[in-house]
């Protein structure tokens, strides 16, 4: 029977099928971090269990770590305890731990790919919903809860109902200044923030074929924002070239075997999806969100849509929170903060894009800009490629790696009522700090807005 890429990877990992129940799915790689793992280790202890395969789990500290002065002890007591607890747990169970200051430390979904841990055909999980990022390599990757983290630690497997399949095809060539972030936000705005719940998405078509690996990661990362469990893109030469030579990549004969297997990971021509969507590349413009979920997004040059909904609707509630009105233009609205970073847009390509816009210009005095690389490797590349000099010359500063204001667990909180153009993934109420107002956009829009102090179309910056 014809199979989708997703079927091929899923089916080869099913250990047992339970009648009127979930599949028992083998997990190949598991990432853990300080926030969603401690209770899982407590659970193991209570049950008297050990980690079954410690070499298949990788640990980093990223969610609540500071982004300045990382060489000093963590000031926030609770955060320090969480990071210490992770380190202790890893030591006790023999898990690799890449803590603060470690050359491989960074945001969990940035360091997996950049160290070659993320590979086609694998099943990858982590207690963080944006685990979908790793799907860019043709892996099945999805976020899990802490009980499931415990499950994977204990039994290297997980019990999951097989999701339905969806394919999103976009052909054509993207317009200038339209980035992978815009493509993803565009899709979410079309499908809504729950439009893909229950599905696993495959992205196909010219746009994704031509996209860089970093771009594919951004797109797959945002799959969860339309409710999908994950998203994936069939591996190709670009994927192989990206992985080759990285620390955990297969070597020598194993490399050739891997390529042969990876090349088979394509959806068969006559495979059938439960749902299909098709869009045209030339319809997509730079996007921005105006509400409190990522589906509330429009092309940056357009106005906030009118709805016929009553004043108590969730739509109006969102606009009230943002202090926006129906029919208003987004362009030209004053902003207070710009945040470049996160597992959505904190990779080297994102810093290159940002730098391309601000080069030779000055940051607006009215804007506080927080630029946070996704990892130490990204930080090093920023320095090596001369991007740091461009940033400093334009009045920007660079922070140290971590999740930072993506979820505002550490001190990096956008103050109440302030507007932040943010390259992250969620504009929920209070996501970036209590009362903070988030406008999700691409690194190009963030850069253009940082220069002018207002929401700005990158196409208008010359």
């Amino acid at each position: 029977m014809a199979k989708t890429l997703f079927d091929k990877v899923w089916d080869s990992h099913v250990i047992e099928k339970i009648n009127d129940g979930p599949d028992v799915l083998l997990i190949d790689r598991h990432f853990i971090h300080e926030v969603t793992s401690p209770v899982a280790f407590v659970g193991l202890k209570k049950r008297g269990l050990k980690v079954m395969y410690p070499d298949k789990t990788f640990a980093t500290a990223d969610h609540n770590t500071p982004t300045i002065d990382q060489h000093l002890p963590i000031k926030d007591k609770l955060s320090a305890i969480q990071v210490d607890t992770l380190e202790k747990n890893c030591k006790e169970h023999g898990i690799d731990f890449w803590g603060l200051g470690h050359s491989k430390n960074g945001i969990v979904h940035v360091i997996g790919p950049e160290n070659g841990i993320t590979q086609p055909g694998l099943t990858i999980v982590c207690g963080d919903s944006h685990t979908s990022t790793h799907g860019a390599f043709g892996a099945i990757a999805f976020g899990i809860g802490t009980s499931e983290v415990e499950m994977v630690l204990a039994c290297q497997s997980i019990m999951q109902q097989k999701p339905k399949s969806m394919r999103i095809t976009i052909d054509g060539v993207l317009n200038k200044n339209v980035t992978p972030k815009d493509v993803a936000i565009y899709i979410i705005s079309k499908l809504s923030s729950s439009g893909a719940t229950g599905y696993f998405v495959e992205y196909s078509g010219q746009v994704f074929r031509e996209m860089s690996m970093e771009g594919r990661m951004t797109v797959c990362n945002l799959s969860i924002e339309m409710g999908a469990r994950g998203g994936m893109i069939a591996p190709d030469q670009k994927t192989f070239d990206y992985i080759k030579g990285r620390e955990f990549a297969p070597e020598k004969e194993k490399w050739n075997d891997a390529i042969e297997y990876w090349s088979s990971l394509q959806t068969d021509n006559d495979a059938v999806f439960d749902k299909e969507y098709k869009f045209n590349a030339n319809e997509i413009e730079p996007m921005i969100t105006y509400g409190t979920n990522p589906g509330m997004a429009i092309p940056i040059s357009e106005s906030i849509p009118f709805s016929n909904l009553d004043p108590n609707s969730s739509y109006q509630k969102a606009l009230n929170y943002m202090e926006f009105k129906e029919g208003e233009k987004m362009i030209g609205k004053k902003i207070d903060y710009v945040f470049l970073g996160s597992c959505t847009n904190g990779r080297i390509e994102d810093f290159r894009s940002f730098a391309s816009i601000i080069k030779g210009k000055r940051k607006s005095d009215n804007v506080d800009a927080w630029l946070v690389p996704g990892s130490h490797k990204v930080l090093n590349s920023i320095k090596e490629e001369g991007i740091l000099d461009i940033l400093l010359d334009s009045g920007f500063k660079l922070r140290e790696p971590g999740c930072s204001a993506c979820l505002a667990m550490n001190d990096d909180k956008i103050p109440k009522g302030k507007y932040a153009v943010s390259t992250t993934n969620r504009n929920f109420e209070g996501r970036q700090g209590p009362g903070a107002r988030t406008l999700l956009a691409s690194p190009l829009v963030a850069a253009a807005s940082a220069i002018t102090g207002k929401i700005t179309d990158p196409r208008e910056i010359t």
Partner: protein
Amino acid sequence: MAYDKFNILNSTAVPINIDNIDTDQIIPARFLKATERKGFGENLFRDWRYNSDDSKIVSFPLNNTKYSGKILIAGKNFGCGSSREHAVWAIYDYGFRAVVSSFFADIFKNNCLNIGVLPVQISDSFLKEIFSEIENNNNSKFEINLEKQELKIISSGSSENFNISQYKKSNLSNGYDDIDYLVNKKHIIKNFIGKSKY
């Protein structure tokens, strides 16, 4: 035994008639710093329950003394966003044992089932009926019967069935969880890994 058994729940309910409630609202990230599963109920819906000076927002249903019970009723697409299980821990710790909505986000639903909170998915129209029932009579009682897979408004007798797999159903009624199941399969898992490519 991993959690309390769930069979029949008979209770009043607390309504939060808002769509797309994400887990950042259920429990904001700044309250995720614990290393044990304790005390999350205090911060359930923190920023909707309290002003920034920690005074209560009286209009919010959890602060409204009219409402109480072990069932939380919420608008559609409940639990979207972050995978944090802390959201369900907070719901459980506050005293809820079931959550009713017309649509749940995937990971949230799994997280509920994994700790023994029952997610009850019903039609939009029945959800509406329940919201108006509570609006008319905040002491109205509901019965959730896991065996029959049925949610009933006791006063009117109006009811609807909900879906749950047989596997999860028997887990809940026995108080077992997935790890209880998997640890007995370790030899099969080991064998499988031995034969797998990775």
